[in-house]
């Protein structure tokens, strides 16, 4: 199912615990590192890089493939994709093969065939959104930066 509503995305994050990041980088200037570091230090999710060229990022072991990740950790709840849109079909196939529950295409990672294939295989699909922004929308992070979280509530407890 393709998730577009903020509530749907919030619920996906609320029921997820593990994230495998395809295309994670150690370069602090890369957006993928920004997101990786944010998720790792946030403590809400267990995140691991998928990158055959890396041993680890910030002490977190990197796996050469989703299959290797799944062998060690089980299927990830979310596969977060930082790749050229033209080269994401194999990532979708691998995600389906390992039994990932959701696939998340970051800003600009838009490939209609990949989206349709993941959707048809029963994965939850998020497209052209940043997982960092959506986590921060739920946990109050966006609000600290004067950003419009869209959250209106008179309940005292946090959303998550």
């Amino acid at each position: 199912m393709i998730l577009t509503q903020p509530g749907e995305i919030r619920e996906l994050l609320a029921r997820s615990k593990t994230i495998a990041m395809v295309g994670a980088s150690r370069d602090p200037l890369r957006p993928s590192y920004t997101v990786f570091s944010f998720v790792r230090t946030g403590g809400l999710f267990s995140i691991a890089p998928i990158n055959p060229k890396l041993e680890e990022i910030d002490g977190i072991r990197a796996y050469p493939s989703l299959a290797e990740y799944a062998r060690a950790n089980g299927a990830p709840d979310i596969v977060d994709v930082f790749r050229n849109p033209a080269s994401v079909l194999p990532v979708v196939d691998e995600s389906i093969a390992v039994g990932a529950k959701a696939i998340w295409f970051q800003y600009g990672v838009i490939n209609d065939e990949a989206i349709a294939r993941a959707d048809a295989a029963g994965l939850d699909v998020v497209v052209d959104r940043c997982i960092k922004v959506e986590i921060a929308r739920s946990n109050g992070g966006l609000a600290t930066a004067g950003l419009n979280s869209g959250i209106i509530t008179s309940r005292r407890a946090g959303v998550r």
């Binding site: 200037l29 600009g108 992070g141 930066a145 950003l147 419009n148 209106i152 309940r155």
Partner: protein, 434 residues
């Protein structure tokens, strides 16, 4: 959780202010603290590298100010907001975020005199050129274009002549030429007009006016729609590595948030024109009643305007909400809930009669502000627009006999009574109070 889209009045009260998670405080707490303790050295490093969310120092962000910013973003329909110490600081920050020495901006000539001065004198000194254009004249706009033009700046309701910006057309013009439309929405407030719904990319406002509503607080705000693509060669300040952040490219790292992040993390950080927590709190209180106040402002202003139009001592009335205004059709389109409550009229007898009229008023306050619960009056030619040349003044719609009113929330019969008695005294030359 459902995804209900809450209405304007609900968001004016609730957006940005869920109950305080620590204390349960229902009113927004005033976080009167200069700085905020880090949870760990790692968290501190993440915040300084712009990877984490949280407060460091109140020059950059503050929880009470953030509540005000989020509420403004919600009301204007934007992605986010950054508050500033004044409206002029807010609009200067927008220019600094997009333009540098050698660049050029386009500005409508129907804008506040302080904006003309800021752009034409202070910006010019910094090497940023400005061309003032009649924004309704497409040929003049096209003739003023340059390859280094970075933005088009207009006011929703021009100060003081009440000209209405044709936002759809101006947004299309700006986008076709590769730069954003920046709209000063001070005189309309988001209750009367939300420029982002008509294609504007950035909204700025003096929060001192209708947003505050009570004449207590000077503040400004920038709301960004997050729709304009700054990842082009025209905007190297956003699309090329930033020296201020170790080579980070804002458009690449922050996507649609690039402008807002640079506005806060580089411009607000370096300029230091932040809004204070207590001031933000006063503005939050004001916003809770914005819809109610604007309804009354609009109704009172229409009644006063109609009364003046029928008065024999009045030469003319320029109220964009009245059919006699040249931009009445544009007002009906962009401001269906009313054209605010600031407008001008010309008194018979010119400058001297105007002076006598203002001196004879009992209830209207003679001061340089608008958008207060109290009714206000001023003579622009000798005050707000006095730094302008005669030519600039006429271009901005200010004649020697022009009197500007900001109609407040008092009983309209009392406002009209005061105007009538002052007009009588202005005519008789007996205007000076004992």
């Amino acid at each position: 959780m459902n995804d209900r889209t809450f209405g304007f009045a609900t968001r004016a009260i609730h957006a940005g202010t869920p109950p305080d998670p620590v204390t349960g405080s229902r009113a927004a707490p005033i976080y009167q603290s200069s700085a905020f303790v880090f949870g760990s050295t790692e968290e501190a490093a993440e915040l300084f590298a712009l990877r984490g969310y949280g407060h460091i120092y109140s020059r950059i962000s503050n929880p009470t100010v953030a509540s005000f910013e989020e509420r403004m973003a919600s009301l204007e329909g934007g992605l986010g907001a950054v508050a500033f110490s004044s409206g002029l600081a807010a609009q200067l920050a927008v220019v600094l975020a997009l333009a540098r020495n050698g660049d050029h901006i386009l500005c409508s000539q129907n804008v506040y005199g302080g904006t003309v001065t800021q752009f034409s004198i202070t910006l010019e000194r910094m090497g940023i050129a400005v061309t003032f254009v009649p924004s309704s004249d497409a040929n003049a706009m096209r003739a003023a274009l340059r390859p280094e033009t970075k933005l088009l700046f207009v006011e929703t309701i021009g100060n003081p002549a009440g000209s209405i910006a044709d936002l759809d057309t101006l947004a299309e013009f700006a986008h076709q030429n590769g730069f954003p439309l920046v709209v000063d929405n001070t005189f309309a407030s988001p209750y009367c007009c939300r420029p982002i719904e008509f294609g504007a990319d950035i909204v700025v406002a003096s929060a001192t006016k209708f947003i505050c509503g009570h004449g207590t607080t000077v503040g400004g705000v920038v709301v960004d729609a997050g729709r304009f693509d700054y990842g082009t060669a025209r905007f190297p300040l956003l699309s090329e590595p930033s020296r201020g952040y170790h080579g980070k490219v804002f458009t690449e790292t922050f996507g649609e948030y690039a402008f807002l992040m640079r506005l806060r993390a580089e411009i607000l950080r370096d300029v230091g024109a932040q809004l204070g927590a207590h001031d933000a709190w006063l503005l939050l209180q004001g916003l809770e009643t914005l819809p109610l106040r604007m309804e009354r402002h609009v109704a009172n202003a229409r009644a006063v305007g109609q009364h003046l139009e029928a008065h024999p001592d009045v030469e003319w009335v320029r109220h964009p909400g009245l059919p006699s205004h040249p931009d009445a059709a544009l007002a009906a389109r962009y401001l269906p809930r009313g054209a605010g409550s600031v407008f001008t009229f010309g008194i018979r007898g010119g400058r001297d009669a105007g002076r006598r009229f203002i001196d004879a008023l009992e209830l209207w306050s003679h001061l340089a502000n608008v958008g207060d619960a109290k009714s206000l009056v001023i003579h622009p030619a000798s005050t707000t627009h006095s730094q302008l040349s005669d030519e600039e003044m006429l271009a901005a719609g200010v004649a020697p006999e022009t009197i500007r009113l900001s109609v407040g929330l008092e009983d309209r019969e009392d406002l009209i009574w005061d105007i009538d008695q002052a007009l009588v005294r202005a005519r008789s030359g007996n205007g000076v109070r004992r």
